[in-house]
């Protein structure tokens, strides 16, 4: 939801980044205010996932130009864990499997880090168990997933639900969900989208990265941005996603970098 008096959470200006010497991001501008839902769409290789990982602080990418201000701070002064503690959350396109680390142990560790950050009490295993089971209901997740290793042998859909479960526990200010809908069947998309909608509020913001319109049927974006060749080439309201669905990405090619929503 767009609120006129909202604070700016994220301000990206002329962001350039390379991986292994190849320039992937070529001048991204984006402003996200609290309460808003932004969708970033685009073809494979347009730089969407790189943008997400750069924001989260992945070491494989080198920032070669531009600025990013997150909650008033220079984002690049913060290590990945500090960004997380400051309220940034990346829902991974391919969540990592960690054999040997029990999911509940991992979730509690992350949750308690966030609690410390919020100046709240850490939860012991029993207290945490109650909380996490409650949150799992939101995503129709079987509590059995708590005892298994993090994401190990989870199906694609289960992994994505586990990502949203982490989001629910960490309660981030800015959630960047990287293709959370990929690999999900229709029912799972609805469940995950419903979970995200329940977590969205006036004080946080969501950036949805997706190929397809279908996720946006459930999570209605305030802004839609189209990425191509490392830049946002078009921005608009939710109707832009429908136009893209109808006309394909070729339709926006060659247009000038957009200024809407910046």
């Amino acid at each position: 939801m767009i609120y006129q008096d909202s604070k700016t959470l994220l301000k990206v200006r002329g962001l350039y980044a390379t991986a292994k010497g190849i320039e992937i991001l070529k001048g991204i501008n984006l402003t996200v205010k609290s309460g808003e839902v932004h969708a970033i769409m685009g073809t494979n290789g347009s730089g969407k996932s790189t943008f997400a990982k750069v924001l989260a602080g992945h070491a494989a990418y080198e920032i070669t130009g531009g600025t990013v201000v997150f909650k008033g701070k220079n984002l690049f002064d913060l290590a990945p864990e500090e960004r997380a503690r400051a309220g940034m959350f990346l829902g991974f396109q391919y969540p990592i499997e960690i054999p040997g680390v029990a999911n509940n142990q991992f979730l509690r560790l992350a949750y308690n880090k966030a609690q410390v950050q919020r100046n709240k009490d850490e939860l012991d295993p029993l207290e945490f168990d109650d909380l996490v089971r409650e949150k799992m209901k939101l995503l129709k997740m079987d509590p059995e997933f708590l005892d298994r290793s993090v994401n190990e042998d989870f199906s694609g859909g289960e992994k994505k639900r586990n990502e949203i479960l982490q989001m629910a526990l960490l309660d981030p200010r800015l959630a960047i969900l990287d293709e959370t809908d990929s690999g999900l069947d229709i029912d799972a998309v609805r469940i995950v989208a419903n979970g995200v909608n329940q977590l969205a509020n006036r004080d946080n913001a969501i950036i949805l990265i997706t190929h397809y319109q279908r996720m946006l049927n459930y999570i209605v974006p305030d802004y839609v941005h189209v990425m191509e060749s490392g830049r946002i080439v078009k921005s608009g309201g939710k109707e832009l996603a429908l136009e893209l669905e109808a006309h394909g990405y070729d339709w926006v090619s060659g247009e000038q970098p957009a200024t809407v929503g910046t």
């Binding site: 989260a56 864990e81 960690i98 054999p99 680390v101 560790l109 880090k113």
Partner: protein, 437 residues
């Protein structure tokens, strides 16, 4: 192994052997005599021997070791922290000598139990009849000088007989405690699992002091048709000690052997595990973890021998190597011409925590049957950067992420241990060893 007669070091190790009293079991006396002959004919292996290429045991030969002369007067309070919460069936050996006052035999608990858990020298004639066909039968010592040495000193040891269709609920704890320096101990175990029986055995090597000593063990495990044996082996000897172990397992039709071995201690350790899938439908799971640091060396040699059709083997062996430590894994899977429809997988994963840490891994697949499913692989690496980033993106610091992943690498094996209190204990050990600040 080439033969050189009269290795003076081996002769020195045999001192005291002649003072062993004769056993009522004639076969045992013959076995000992044969073993002495073999020791006299063999020599200590060196890195020029293929089987010892990566494991230089010359530090062992620079020191003199003798069997214990004066037994340490241990009280229950000295050692009870090693006891298992789940088990009251326990045989304790101190520096290789049976300690009845620290042990609890099954007969102490249940008068009518047909299960035998006892010291070898206390075996009844009935037990001896059961033991005789197996003792020394499964671990060959013709070319294995350490097995020959162990057999030359064979007089005490743990033996377990589980009669047919008996399921032993509680784990049996075989606890070998080292207390004195410059001592050579020769622990011996024999487990005979009757057809359709089930038993869990923990073979546990611990020390009370950081001393230099040698533990040279032989274990033989025999599974009759449909028997199930869980074998957990924990080696937490002193970090100055030498630990050489041979274990031979023989599986009859449709029996199942599940083993987890964990090597934490010893300056130099070597574990040879030979699993013979001797009849159709036998299954084994052979998992291992070596967690070593400083200048430790842990060597695991396994051989899983598929001789008959429709047998299954699974193996996951992991090493976490810190500082300038050195892990060795040699895993042979043999699939003989008769062993059609073999289903076998083997994986060796190694985590090197420093640039000086070293691992030598050699998975070996020898297949002589044509309709089989075999997979094997080995990986050597550092912690996965994607995993570290994932954890950091959830607010965990770099060091917390690294510690957690290192712990998890080992925990995957520890988690498979079916004894809750031991699992918890080892989890704490792994946690302590993998937490850096």
């Amino acid at each position: 192994m080439s033969v050189v007669t009269g290795d003076s070091y081996l002769k020195s190790l045999l001192q005291g052997q002649s003072q062993l009293s004769a056993s009522p079991l004639e076969r045992l006396n013959r076995l000992r005599a044969n073993a002495v002959d073999r020791v006299s004919a063999l020599r200590m292996p060196t890195i020029r021997d293929e089987e010892w290429r990566f494991t230089d045991i010359s530090p062992l030969t620079k020191l003199s070791f003798q069997p214990i002369r004066i037994v340490s007067p241990l009280q229950v309070s000295d050692v009870e922290h090693f006891y298992l919460a789940e088990s009251v069936t326990r045989l304790v050996f101190v520096d290789g000598v049976y300690a009845p006052h620290l042990s609890t035999q099954l007969s102490d608990i249940s008068k009518d139990s047909s299960v035998v858990v006892s010291n070898l020298s206390a075996a009844t004639s009935e037990d001896l009849a059961t033991i005789e066909p197996h003792l020394g039968h499964h671990t060959e010592f013709q070319d294995n000088v350490f097995a020959a040495l162990n057999t030359a000193f064979l007089h005490e040891g743990a033996f377990i007989i589980v009669p047919r269709n008996i399921s032993v609920e509680m784990p049996v704890h075989l606890l070998f405690i080292a207390t004195q320096k410059e001592v050579a101990s020769y622990p011996r175990c024999l487990l005979i699992a009757g057809s359709g029986s089930t038993v869990t055995v923990l073979e546990d090597y611990v020390s009370l002091q950081e001393e230099t000593y040698v533990t040279n063990t032989v274990a033989e495990i025999v599974l009759a048709d449909n028997a199930i044996v869980n074998h957990i082996r924990i080696q937490r000897d002193s970090n100055q000690a030498f630990h050489i172990a041979n274990c031979a397992v023989s599986l009859a039709r449709a029996s199942r052997y599940q083993s987890i071995s964990v090597a934490l201690g010893a300056r130099i350790s070597r574990y040879n595990l030979n699993v013979l899938l001797a009849d159709e439908g036998a299954e084994c799971t052979v998992d291992g973890l070596a967690l070593i640091s400083n200048r430790q060396l842990a060597d695991t040699h396994t051989c899983i021998d598929h001789t008959k059709p429709h047998c299954t083997s699974r193996q996951l062996h992991k090493c976490i190597v810190d500082d300038a430590a050195h892990a060795v894994f040699n895993g042979k899977i043999m699939v003989r011409p008769d062993a059609q429809f073999t289903d076998s997988s083997q994986s060796n994963r190694n985590l090197l925590l420093t640039s000086k840490a070293r691992v030598d891994t050699k998975p070996q697949l020898e297949i002589f049957a044509d309709d089989v499913k075999c997979a094997h692989g080995a990986t050597v690496g550092q912690l996965d950067n994607e995993e570290i980033f994932y954890l950091k993106s959830r607010g965990l610091s770099e060091i917390t992420a690294r510690n957690l992943l290192t712990y998890a690498f080992g925990a995957e094996i520890i988690d498979r241990i079916p004894i809750a209190s031991l699992k918890f204990q080892l989890e704490q050990t792994v946690l302590e060893q993998t937490q850096k600040s």
